[in-house]
Every structure is written in structure tokens, then in C-alpha cells.
Assembly symmetry: C2
């Protein structure tokens, strides 16, 4: 008989730092080039977030020195608000700690893992701490060296000193081994280039190991307005969200809890809802049961269905849903009355204030300036909601022809370029799923750049390394919708190009036969051949004026 209990003598708990140390590839640390790009990515996104949070136009400098074989020193310096000295050790020395996880606000970072992940990678390849020089601009500069105590997932401060200084911002200096720098597709250079492309308000100064300095200058001096903190949207809310909320909410009734903690529910809406679920909504939150919370969620689903289907709303389906909301059979007449009450409910869509898309015009300008294409089609969709009531918004830009040479897909999330893990990304899948021939271009074999940016208070990344979007149905479908909408605009363009090509073909043929025709006509009419030819030519030009007009029109559209 096997001794069942023996195998559990090794039962242990381990820290999240140990987990990610052993699975550092989950943080993006795999491969020499990628690991370096990941470290830059984490520090630069933190700098950008910090600047934007306080409305500063970001000036970031990134510098790489080669110290030896696969051995570099990375310095990232910003003009941000600085980090208070009692906070900095945890930012860089503890995973799952930060300002962003608990708030429903659109920032690039969202997990509280990135900065400490850089420290972790540095210390396991070089044995050295990360050095932080920071000041909030109060005249005191703090300088400290921090490591992660892996077993405890706690910061291990190796040194800490302060001195007077007139500086505001943060400088992070970190040594990395087992990394390599080049200028390829997955490099720091490409990462920063794309960051500049999606963030025209940022100036980045990059010093390469050979001393070459590239400055990506800002093209707009308007700081990016920081998104306000979102409330979960009722259309994506889950039972667990409502139930968990009810356990901590201080509101007197569930109805009040809902109006103050969820997005877009006014007093008129809640009064209508009280007609449907008076008992549940009038009780104190602490007494709400799971089943009652489920009913409230079911009611929101019914309202969502009504809002989405509008006139196509099927009353029979509505009555069925209403039965589930009430948890019992209901008289048809009464049901119809209740549905009529609900028809009056207006729940506002996800607020545009909480999301910070790049913007249609900025995408257009950026694509034109950077790619010199012959046509650009840009789509900015309205904010939508996914599971958990989380708002998100999709933007798509398609640039065609001109100086573009090959197909390229540029993925962004909250304006951060995603260079890696393309194969496992919902954006890639969505692009592949479209039948592009319907829009007149076999994009994968044509000079086309497709740019997709997703903005959200919580991007559903596949991993903590944040390089690919997970297969969340609502997000995937919305990307597809955006691509098809951009595709339809593209179709108008490709159709016109097609017409022009046909006309030009015809004109060419006529031009080819013009001399023979002139000769014949001259003989027949006895007129001078040259005169006949020039008359015919101007007739031809007249006839094909439309061609020029069309071409001009195309240029205007793309302007």
C-alpha cells in the first residue's frame, strides 16, 4: 500500500518573486535581444505613465553602454514627478505592488510587476542591485540601490542616501548580462521608434552603445490628457463584482451602492430598476445574497440586450429574460408593463473621458509622416465594454502604397508598441480572420501597413510580459469590426484606383492609334495631318479629364 501522506512532506509555499524568477520568460525575459528590449520597455512605460499622470510633457532619455560580452548598462531618465523615497524601494524591489492595479484608470503599466521585474532580471544576471536617483523637486535628491529579496518578495535596500539638488524626475541605472543590442525588428531602437509614432507628445533621446544619438522629437506640444478613473460599466459587470462590492460598500442600500459605484446609472434609471427588483435593491448591501446579486446582473443583461437591439428587441425573449431576473413565472400582461418601464431606462455608454486613444487625426498624421503612403484609412470606434465592466476602445489605421514596401502589422496597447508574441495575439488573429480580397487588396502580399491600438483601463494581456492581447471575445470582435470598417473605406479607394487604371488603359490604346487615325482622317478630309492630330489629342484630353479629376480627388481624400 502506498503511503499517501509521504508525498506531501514537501508541501511548501513560494513567493510570487520566486515564481517569476523561475518563469522569467513570462515577464518577457527570453532571448538576448528581447530581454534588453523588455527592460527598456518596462522603464520607459513607467516614465511615460508618471509624466502623464501629472500633466508633464515627457522628456525621456534612454542610454545603452556596452560593458563587455553580452553585458550592458541601461540608463533611463525622465522629467517626471519623481518617486517619494519611502515608496521607491517597493516600486523596484517588490512584485505586485504599485499605484495602478487597484485603480480603474488607463495607464501603460497595470500590474505592479514591470519595474521590479527589471531588478529581478538584473540581479540574476549580474548579482547587482538597481540604482535609483529620484527627486520630487523639493530640493532633496535621493539615491538608492535596491534588490528583490526573492524568498520573501520584499525590497532589499542595499544603500540609501540623500543630498541637496535641484532636479525633478527619476533616473534608473541598471546593469544587465546575457543581453545583446542590435537595430533589428525586435530591438530597443524599433521599440522607441514605434513608441514615438504612437506618442507624438513625447521626446525620446536614445544613445546607442556606439555613441550614436537619435532624438525622436515630439510633433505636438499638447500634453496627453490623463484619463479619469473609471467606474465599472453595468453592461459587463459580473455577479462576483456586485457581490464583492456589496461586502465593502458603505452605501445604505444596494440601489445607492449601484448608482455610486457603477458607471452611467442616473436616478431615473435606478427608479425604474426598483420597480423590477424592489426587495434586492432596497436592502443594505451587506445582506445581499449571491443569488440576489445574480438577479441584478441578469437585469443589467436584459437592459443591455434592449439597448443593443433597440427596435429589433424581441418582446418574447425579453419576457423570458425577465422571468430569470425575477426568478419566477410572471403574468404576460404584467411582464409587458415591466418591460415598458425598462424601455425608458437609459444607461450611458462607457465614458470617453476614461480612455485616451491616440486619436484619428494623430494616427493619420503619424502614418503619413512616417510611411509616406498613397492612401490612409483610419477608424476610431466608440468605447465598448468587456467582461467585468471594463471599458476599451479600438483604433485602426490602414496605410497603402506610396513608400510602403511590404505588409506589416503594428500592434499597440495603450499606445505601447507590442513587438513580441505576435502569433498568440488577438490582434493578429483578427487581422488574419478578415477576407481582405473583399476590400480589393490581398493585404498580406501588398504594400500595406495595418496599425491597431487598443485603449483600456485594463488591457487583457496574455502574460505579465504584456506583449499580446488575450482572446477575449468582446475585444476580438471589436477589433474585427474596426478592421472591416477601415476595410470598407479602403474598398472605396481600391475601386477608384481600379477605375482609373481601366481609363488609363483605354487612353493609352487611343493614344497609340492616334497617329494612324490622324493620317487617315487627313487623307479623307484633305486637311493638314498635324492639325488633325492636335485636334484629336485635345479631344482625347477633354474626354479623359475625368481621369485627372479622379486622381486629384484621391489625393485630396488621402490628404
Amino acid at each position: 500500500m502506498p503511503e499517501g501522506t509521504d508525498i506531501f512532506k514537501e508541501f511548501k509555499e513560494h513567493s510570487v518573486a520566486e515564481f517569476f524568477k523561475k518563469n522569467k520568460h513570462m515577464l518577457g525575459y527570453s532571448g538576448k535581444v528581447r530581454s534588453l528590449t523588455t527592460a527598456v520597455h518596462e522603464l520607459v512605460t513607467n516614465s511615460l505613465d508618471a509624466c502623464e499622470e501629472v500633466g508633464i510633457l515627457p522628456d525621456i532619455s534612454v542610454s545603452l553602454e556596452r560593458l563587455g560580452d553580452e553585458h550592458y548598462r541601461l540608463t533611463v531618465k525622465d522629467n517626471g514627478p519623481g518617486i517619494p523615497p519611502h515608496i521607491a524601494p517597493r516600486v523596484f524591489g517588490k512584485l505586485l505592488a504599485g499605484t495602478k492595479f487597484h485603480r480603474m484608470i488607463q495607464t501603460r503599466g497595470q500590474q505592479g510587476i514591470g519595474a521590479a521585474g527589471v531588478t529581478l532580471f538584473s540581479q540574476i544576471t549580474t548579482g547587482k542591485p538597481v540604482k535609483i536617483i529620484t527627486s520630487t523637486g523639493d530640493g532633496t535628491v535621493w539615491e538608492m540601490e535596491v534588490m528583490v529579496d526573492v524568498t520573501k518578495n520584499e525590497p532589499d535596500v542595499k544603500s540609501k542616501r540623500h543630498y541637496p539638488g535641484d532636479f525633478r524626475g527619476t533616473e534608473v541605472i541598471v546593469e544587465l548580462k546575457e543581453v545583446e543590442y542590435n537595430r533589428g525588428k525586435y530591438s530597443v531602437y524599433e521599440y522607441l521608434r514605434r513608441t514615438a509614432l504612437a506618442n507624438p507628445h513625447v521626446t525620446i533621446r536614445f544613445t546607442e552603445p556606439d555613441g550614436k544619438i537619435t532624438t525622436f522629437e515630439r510633433s505636438t506640444f499638447e500634453p496627453v490628457k490623463i484619463g479619469i478613473e473609471a467606474k465599472p460599466h453595468p453592461f459587463g459587470i459580473t455577479t462576483d463584482d456586485i457581490f464583492s462590492l456589496s461586502r465593502i460598500a458603505k452605501s445604505k442600500t444596494v440601489a445607492r451602492m449601484i448608482t455610486s459605484h457603477l458607471h452611467g446609472i442616473g436616478s431615473k434609471a435606478i427608479i425604474s430598476m426598483l420597480h423590477i427588483l424592489p426587495r434586492e435593491l432596497n436592502k443594505p448591501p451587506q445582506e445581499l445574497t449571491w443569488e440576489e446579486a445574480e438577479r441584478i446582473v441578469m437585469l443589467f443583461r436584459l437592459l443591455r440586450t434592449m439597448a443593443e437591439k433597440k427596435r429589433d428587441f424581441d418582446e418574447k425573449e425579453g419576457i423570458e429574460m425577465l422571468k430569470k431576473v425575477l426568478g419566477k413565472e410572471i403574468d404576460e400582461e404584467k411582464a409587458k408593463n415591466l418591460l415598458n418601464i425598462l424601455k425608458e431606462v437609459k444607461i450611458r455608454g462607457p465614458s470617453t473621458d476614461v480612455l485616451i486613444p491616440i486619436g484619428k487625426e494623430r494616427i493619420k498624421t503619424s502614418l503619413k509622416a512616417n510611411l509616406k503612403p498613397s492612401f490612409v484609412s483610419v477608424v476610431e470606434r466608440k468605447p465598448k465594454v468587456y467582461y467585468g465592466g471594463i471599458p476599451f476602445q479600438v483604433e485602426v489605421g490602414i496605410a497603402v502604397g506610396g513608400k510602403i514596401e511590404n505588409f506589416e502589422l503594428m500592434r499597440f496597447a495603450n499606445r505601447v508598441p507590442l513587438l513580441f508574441d505576435s502569433g498568440g495575439c488577438a490582434i493578429t488573429e483578427a487581422v488574419k480572420s478578415i477576407d481582405w480580397n473583399r476590400y480589393g487588396v490581398d493585404v498580406f502580399n501588398a504594400p500595406v501597413v495595418i496599425m491597431v491600438n487598443i485603449s483600456s483601463t485594463h488591457i487583457p494581456y496574455t502574460t505579465a510580459g504584456k506583449q499580446a492581447i488575450a482572446d477575449v471575445p468582446e475585444v476580438y470582435n471589436e477589433i474585427r469590426q474596426a478592421l472591416m470598417e477601415a476595410g470598407r473605406k479602403l474598398k472605396e479607394y481600391t475601386s477608384k484606383v481600379h477605375s482609373i487604371n481601366e481609363l488609363m488603359q483605354k487612353k493609352k490604346i487611343l493614344e497609340h492609334y492616334l497617329p494612324f487615325l490622324s493620317k487617315g482622317l487627313a487623307t479623307l478630309t484633305g486637311k493638314d495631318e498635324k492639325v488633325v492630330e492636335s485636334t484629336l489629342k485635345s479631344l482625347l484630353e477633354e474626354r479623359y479629364k475625368r481621369l485627372e479629376e479622379l486622381m486629384k480627388k484621391l489625393e485630396v481624400e488621402s490628404a
Copy 2:
């Protein structure tokens, strides 16, 4: 002036349970069908691991009941060793706790996340705890209900009772909402079918929601021998590994620490190494510095290069590496002497005892029984080592023709089928990277099944959801090597098929002209036409006996 410190008033720490609750897709919970398959996957792999750890032939029963719209009850029961009652709450109620993370042993689970992840998903969709009925076979059965306290990442035991009973094993009952069952490509059914395919020693009984019972019976009664615990292999060890080890090792010298904690270093090897780094290896581990640990790792790299290149080993490169090991210039004569000493060092390859591949014969039998192909090519590579000294081994089976209809890639890791995230998996990338036409088949458009299994004490999964292999260079290259080796075997077959086809073509032509030829010959020789024809026919058969032989040979090879 922006107030820098204000943005940090929200600085908070969050638990790993909160992190995964918010990012449940990272655990595999995204999509209705996938979420259900993920839950089954986690519970079944835990059952298989438990059985194999104590040498029990696993009998697993999986049962799904439909309770309502997108609402199911899942029961997984095993005949394993049972879970001690003081351990069970943490297995199901705390993430990053378990028996597997700290040990370097090949099990399906390796993170201590899976079981508690099921609890988490269940409670956020149904609000209910998971129910565990378990006994170690000591006459007492324990029944308990467990949830995860998300804020603390600690188990929250809702009920616990025990009663006498004659039973050994574990039964887990869990309710799930927002999931859907079907029999498709990503279903529980397909998952269990593939599990049976790669684990012929397991019997799985599956009850579908409609009551249909499928039993995947074991085809071998030999229990899978559990791998022994591995030691990290010096060829993949990192400085951090050596340095961290030195801080906890109780050995008197670094040399002894190395021989007792790393794999495959005998006393002869360490004596040779002592010639190179006497100071570093003779000191107490606690006094080893990071730089000294780096030198030891550099020495292992030199030894690895020598072992891999053998006669092609370049002495000049060796001297350069030696300089780095010693951290100083060295006289050429002396360097050559030291290299000669190192040439005698034998470090054993990764032990086959620690890895449990499916096995060449089992793969062959399994592919033939399940797919009825006309040819099978199987390759089992020797164990290799990746970053961190972690041993791994790749197996590849390619089945062609017969009853196979389309191309299919079947990915496995430690005999667990990987159904999802195919796009982001190193196995998929490796298969795509091969120029299959060189091996005579355009596999992606042919009736071909490629099966790849990776065995390791720590599979480098891309996410905690464990569905794709990360892009670790050593692993990716080794998969490619295995595929090409299998490809070469395939090439022999496809060449033969090609010859046979050519011969058959020729024979057909001759057979076609045989009657005319016979007629002519009969007229010429005055012999009876029928006699001539039968003589010619037997000559033809004689001539093309080779064809039959070849065909027989092919059948034998594939047998």
C-alpha cells in the same frame, strides 16, 4: 508645479490571487468552452501526478452535469493516494503552494496554481466553494468545502467534517458558470482523448452532460515509473544558481557543494577543475563572491564547448575562454597544459532517470492504433539542458497517409495535451520553420499528423495557463533537430513511394501494350497468341517482383 507625491497615495500591494482573479485568462479561463476544458485539465493532471508519484495505475473518472444555461457541475475522481486533511485547504485555497515548485522532478503540475485556480474560477462565477472528498486510505474520509480568500491569498474553509469509510483517493466537485460543453476541437472530450493517447497506462471514464459514457481504457498495465528528483546540470547552470546555492549550502568547500548539488560531476572531474580554479573551489561556499561564481560558470561553459565540439574543438577559442575563466592573461604553454587537463574531464549528460518520455515504441503503437496511417516515423532525442541546468527531452512522431485525412499538429508537454494557444507556441514555430519539401512532403497540405512531446522537470510554459511552450532557444532548436531527424526517416519512405509509383507506372504501360505485343510476336513466331501472352505476363511479373518486395519492405518498416 505638479505635486509629485500625490500620485503615490494610492500605492498598494496586492495578492497573487487578486492578480490572477483580474487576469484569469492568464490561467486559461477565457471563452466558455476553453474555461471548462481548463478546469478539467487542472484537476485531471493533478490526479495523474498524484497516482504516478506513488506508483498507482490511474483510474480517473470525469463527469459533467448540466445544471442550467452555461452552468455545469464537474466531478473528477481518482484512485490516488488522497490528500491529508491539513494540506487539502491549501492545495485548493491558496495559489503558489504545493509539492512541485521547489523540487526538480518531472510532474505535470509545476507551479502550485492549477487547483486553486479552479476554485477561484468557480467562486467568481458561482459564489460557491469547491467540495473535496478525500482519504489516504486510513479508514477516515474527509469532506470539506474550500474557497480562496482573494485579498490574502489564503484558504477559506467553509466546512470540514470526517466520517469512517473504506476509500482511498480524491474526489473534487465544483460548480462552474459561464462555461459551455461541446465535442469540438477544444473540448473536454478531445482533451481526454489526447490524454489517453499519450498516457496508455491510464483509464479515464468520461460522462458527458447527456449521460453518454466513454471509457478510454488503458492499453498497458505497467505503471509509469516516476522520475527521480534531478539536480541542475552544470552545462546550463547560471551564476545566480551557483551564487544562491552557496548562500544556503552546508558543504565545507565550493568543490564539495558542486559535486553534491549539481548533476554528473565525479571526483575525477572536480580534481581537474581544482587545477584551474583552486582558490574559488577550495573556499567555504559562504565566502564565494559573485565574480568567483561567474568564473565557475565560465569554466562549465568551456567544458560544455569541449564536450560538444569534441575533435572540432578549437584550441585558440579554448585559450580565450580560459583567460575569461581565470580573469587574467595566461602563458600559452601553460594554457595548453590546462586545456589538456580539462580534456580528461567527463561530465555525464542529463540523466534519463529524471525524465519520463512517452517512449518510442509507445508513440508508434499509439499513433498506429489511433490513426491507422501507412507510415510512421518516430524520434526520441537524448536529454538536453536549457538555461538554469534544467533537463528536457524531445520526442517526435510523424504519421502519414492511411486513414489520416488532413494535416494536424498534436502538441504535448510531459504527456499533457496542449490544445490552446497554438499560435504562440515554440512547437508550432519549429514545425513551421522546417522546409518540409526537402523531405518529400508538403506536410501542411497532406494527410500528415505530427506529434511532439516535451518532457522536463520544468516546462517553460508561456503562461500559468500552461498551453504553449515559450521561445527558449535551446528548446526550440532541439525540437527542430528532432523534426528534421524524423523528416529524414520520412524522406526514405517518400523516396521509396516515389520509386514504387514510377515502377507501377511503367508496369501499367507494359501491361497495356502486352496484348498487341503478344499478337505481333505470335504472328512473327507462329506460336499460339495465348501462350505468348502468358509467357510475357510471367516475365513482366518476374521483372516487377522488386515492386512487391519494396511494398512489403515498406509495410515491415512501418510495422
